[in-house]
């Protein structure tokens, strides 16, 4: 499966948001690190066009689930770091739970013949 094709496929609404929340859950990350992390976590099956990450980050910031601050990166450049807020944590939990339920249900339906 080519990455291009994956890219054009519409991810279910909110999926990218959930993945981003997950990516910054452990520690503050800048945008590039988040994209690398998503790449690693999905073991390259899922490649998101890197640029579309930023509007999504911005959307989450506006919702108050993540917050951003400027800091110095590992190679000494100014970079914008995102971290999860308390509301973001709560959101990650509920969304993860909801996602599990959804996939389980859909899996059951697909498997029950």
């Amino acid at each position: 499966m080519s990455t291009d094709r994956m890219d054009r496929m519409d991810l279910p609404q909110g999926t990218l948001d959930l993945l981003i929340l997950k990516a910054v859950a452990l520690e503050p990350q800048h945008g590039w690190a988040i994209s690398q992390r998503l790449h690693q976590m999905s073991t390259a099956t899922l490649q998101i066009r890197q640029g579309s990450l930023y509007p999504a980050l911005h959307r989450l910031e506006r919702r108050g689930w993540i917050k951003a601050r400027w800091s110095t990166s590992e190679n000494n450049r100014r970079a914008k770091y995102y971290e999860l807020t308390r509301r973001g944590h709560a959101q990650l939990e509920t969304q993860t739970e909801a996602w599990r339920k959804l996939t389980t249900t859909i899996g059951q339906i697909l498997e029950s013949n």
Binding site: H30, G31, G51, S52, Y54, P55, E61, R62, K80
Partner: protein
């Protein structure tokens, strides 16, 4: 959500900083990606290429960012404005005409609004004016007195004794005051000047609740016989008579009767009472000095008659005008018992003060405002018409833009932005125009519209003008934008911009019909008013406009009746003896001087009624000649009609025909009855002559019966109007007459020096004001409508160029083409005219009360209107039609 709004706000306010941050963030990502590819072993250029692919389009992402921030709208707006401004500059002709149209519409509306604002909206410079009322009295025996129908209070002030009784019993008012207007003589070294003054009681300033600019106002302690003489002066007088001296509170004011200490100066706009506040009996236009009433015990006890101007009450909180009226009615009914038998019948009238000053101007001013809004509507529809024409010319461009993916909303927004640009620029121009008009207003100021002189472009007017700009922009922008954006894209491009959509041409036709019909409405109104104005000027007034008149007031040195008579006799004979003086005479009250006297009378051999009254005047020999009033029968008052000789009177034609219809009045006997039946009867006078009717109280009503007695056979007055008929220009005689009077007594003050024509001009000023403005509106409307029609016709010709070419090529005669083009224009014009004429007939009813000598449905006015409009329409149609027949058929056909 808070974080959301904070971020949006930051994006709006610190645009560049936010854009830079986005840039930095994306750049950082991109560089790291490139680095990581290089680390994987790619060449730098290949790494950059791969990174770009992985990342996606930079600008696209930024655009998404902006969308999320909501700054997209602003960016679009900036783009639209820039684009619109460039597009407008590319068509300077269109832009100029549209700007002018909108500017005139908004300017005229704002200017008239500034009048509405000054006269009807802006607060009076008193404390809460809604709680101020006039407390007046009326007596059915005096209903003939024209005061009822005029400006101002519409009732008499209570007499001093009545006022005292009312005040001690009334509970509706927190304060109740009374004052008398009085013309005072201001003595300044060697010159004297008459100024408007008011004698006020101690509660006056407290009731009106207005604070002085400097010093103090008059209080109860100032009012009384023997108190120090103090005066409060107007800001105006402080500036003119004292040159704004800072030590004004230590200065004295020299009035005819003595010196007064100035204790206060009122703020600039406080000039109460003005002529418009008190009506036709006003002795001066504004009030510049307030002094205490200081009534004598005898004056205090007067019950039947009053020289007072008005009583003002301030309602207690919670008391309505109706409550106050109810209480005053009860009180006055009780007080009426104390009046002498002949004068019983007084009742109280309570009227809101704010209302009474503008009662008679409210309608005309709103009417003018309505008229100017019609002008604005025409301007709007003209601008819409122009915009539509222009948008159609750009059909191709619009089609291309639509084909390239511009959304319909975006196209509408673009066209609307252009309209708004025009409207706002036109609005700015309009504010300029309104400034100019407000500067010109004093030249048409009738002088009796309260506070018209204070009209100015203040924040309310600016707000109004700004609001109008936006409103007009929306009106004339939205319709064309919607119409044009609805056109089929493919259609437009296929026809390479020649598309003629029936939708837009119907819209344009409708707009022009609207303009024509509104113009008919305004021109018809203006025609009716012009005709009325002409009728008023042409009406037989009964006096000559070229008579020079002036007023002389005697001072304390003329206490004895004989001295007064001697002075008047000497004065008149000296003036008559002057070279270039035809004749001169005296009267107690000139026509249009705002003063009328009435008396009870009895006629010999007539079924006299109780309470019959007649207007009376006292005149000297030569008066009728000097005034140019024709003697119709018998003789005039002569020099020999003096005390001790048989009393005589002259009556006017209205008197003769009312009381002696079909017979001669000359030789009949007349006598004035005393005010009190117990008074000894006055001697009989013989009617010796009949003179023409004179319009004394106003120029528009038929004169009532009038009796003239001899100046020397009645109570001698302390002031006299002198009328002089000169052989040269009256203005040239003023200084000579002044010198003559100074030779007799240098102490006396001359006032009210006028040529009668000036009084006529003053009396017709309000009508002239209204007529001038409405005529101006009519002319503007006509020009705009003709312009609109012309635009439509030239557009039609352009649209049908090809068709006309074909017709001409096939041998059509030029007259056929003319008919074709002109016929279209005629149809639109006729439709507009008939709609407008019907509307005008309905609207004329609103004008009915303002018309004079012309019916609202006057066919003459309608004919004139239709003729004027047809003429304008003909011109507007002929020019494009001429262009049509000059077309070279070959050329037009080759054009496509």
């Amino acid at each position: 959500m808070l974080s959301d709004w904070m971020l949006r706000l930051r994006a709006l306010i610190k645009r560049t900083a936010v854009e830079e941050e986005i840039d930095t963030e994306l750049r950082f990502h991109f560089d790291r990606q490139v680095e990581s590819y290089i680390a994987e072993g790619l060449t730098p250029s290949e790494a950059a290429r791969r990174a770009r692919i992985a990342f996606g389009h930079f600008d696209h992402i930024k655009e998404e960012y902006r969308d999320a921030f909501g700054t997209r709208l602003l960016d679009d707006l900036k783009q639209d404005v820039g684009y619109g401004a460039r597009a407008l500059l590319r068509t300077p002709g269109f832009t100029c005409i549209a700007l002018l149209t909108v500017g005139i519409g908004i300017g005229a509306s704002s200017a008239i609004f500034s009048v509405v604002n000054a006269v009807l909206i802006r607060d009076l410079p008193y404390g809460d004016v809604t709680r101020l009322v006039y407390v007046g009295v009326r007596n059915p025996k005096l209903t003939d007195i024209p005061i009822e129908s005029q400006d101002g209070i519409g009732a008499f002030a209570p007499s001093n004794a009545d006022f005292d009784d009312l005040r001690s019993a009334a509970t509706s008012f927190s304060n109740l005051t009374i004052f008398a207007q009085d013309a005072l003589t201001l003595v300044d070294r060697d010159s004297t000047e008459r100024i408007g003054g008011a004698r006020v009681n101690g509660d006056f300033f407290r009731t009106i609740d207005v604070r002085p600019e400097i010093g103090r106002v008059l209080g109860p302690d100032d009012d009384g016989i023997g108190r120090p003489r103090v005066a409060v002066i107007s800001h105006r007088l402080w500036q003119t008579a004292f040159a704004g001296a800072p030590d004004i509170l230590t200065r004295q004011l020299s009035l005819g009767g003595g010196a007064y200490d100035v204790v206060g100066v009122m703020p600039p706009l406080f000039l109460y009472p003005r002529a418009s506040d008190v009506g036709p009996d006003a002795v001066s236009k504004v009030t510049d000095v307030w002094i205490p009433m200081a009534l004598t015990a005898q004056q205090q006890a007067e019950r039947d008659f009053s020289n007072n101007t008005a009583a003002i009450g301030r309602l207690k909180p919670g008391v309505s005008v109706r409550d106050a009226q109810a209480e005053m009615s009860v009180l006055m009914a009780r007080i009426d018992e104390r009046h002498s038998r002949d004068w019983k019948g007084w009742h109280a009238v309570v009227t809101p003060m704010a209302d009474s000053a503008v009662r008679n101007v409210r309608r005309p001013i709103w009417f003018l405002f309505g008229a100017v809004l019609l002008v604005l509507l025409i301007a709007c529809s003209n601008a819409a018409h122009l915009t539509l024409a222009r948008a159609e010319g750009r059909n191709h461009e619009i089609g291309v833009r639509a084909a390239l993916g511009a959304g319909r909303g975006r196209l509408v927004r673009q066209l609307l932005t252009e309209a708004m640009l025009l409207a706002i620029a036109g609005g700015a121009l309009g504010i300029g125009v309104s400034y100019a008009v407000v500067l010109l207003l004093p030249f048409v100021d009738p002088g009796n519209v309260p506070r018209l002189g204070e009209a100015s472009v203040d924040w309310r007017v600016l707000l109004f003008g700004g609001g109008l700009s936006i409103f007009t922009g929306m009106t004339f922008g939205l319709f064309p934008a919607l119409t044009v954006s609805r056109t089929e894209i493919g259609d437009v491009i296929k026809r390479a911009g020649r598309a003629r959509t029936t939708g837009t041409s119907r819209m344009r036709g409708t707009l022009v019909v609207l303009q024509v019909s509104l113009a008919v409405l305004l021109v018809a109104g203006a025609t009716l008013l012009l005709e009325s104005y002409r009728n008023v000027l042409m009406a037989d007034r009964g006096f000559s406009s070229s008579t020079l008149t002036l007023r002389i007031s005697l001072d304390g040195g003329y206490r004895e009746a004989e001295r007064r008579r001697a002075f008047f006799r000497q004065l008149l004979s000296d003036v008559r003896a002057l070279p270039n003086v035809e004749t001169a005479g005296g009267v107690n009250a000139l026509p249009l001087s705002g003063s009328e006297a009435m008396s009870f009378f009895t006629l010999d051999g007539f079924a006299n009624k109780q309470d019959q009254m007649v207007n009376t005047r006292w005149v000297s020999a030569g008066y009728f000649n000097a005034m140019g009033t024709a003697l119709l029968e018998g003789r005039a008052i002569e020099d020999s009609d003096i005390e001790g000789r048989p009393p005589v009177v002259v009556v006017n034609k209205a008197f003769a025909s009312r009381y002696y219809p079909g017979a001669s009045a000359v030789g009949r006997r007349f006598r004035i009855r005393g005010l009190d039946p117990s008074d000894p009867p006055r001697p009989w006078s013989t009617i010796v002559g009949v003179v023409a009717d004179v319009r004394h109280s106003n120029l528009e009503d038929a004169p009532p019966p009038q009796v003239y007695s001899s100046l020397y056979q009645g109570e001698p007055m302390d002031s006299l109007y002198v009328a002089v008929q000169t052989r040269v220009a009256p203005d040239a005689m003023v200084s000579t007459v002044r010198r003559t009077i100074r030779n007799i007594d240098p102490q006396l003050a001359l006032a009210d020096i006028h040529v009668m024509g000036e009084l006529v001009s003053e009396a017709t000023a309000r009508r002239r004001f209204q007529t001038t403005l409405l005529t101006a509106f009519g002319v503007i409307a006509l020009a705009l409508a003709a312009g609109g029609l012309y635009g439509l016709m030239s557009y039609t010709v352009r649209q049908r160029t090809r068709e006309i070419g074909v017709r001409l090529a096939l041998g059509a005669r030029t007259s056929d083409v003319l008919l074709l083009v002109a016929g279209h224009g005629a149809k639109i014009t006729l439709l507009g005219i008939s709609i407008g004429a019907v509307a005008a007939l309905m609207l004329a009813r609103v004008l009915a009360s303002t018309l004079y000598g012309v019916a609202p449905t006057d066919p003459g006015a309608i004919v004139v209107t239709v003729a004027v409009l047809m003429g304008a329409a003909l011109l507007a149609c002929l020019m494009p039609a001429r262009r049509a027949i000059r077309l070279d058929p070959v050329k037009t056909l080759r054009e496509d």
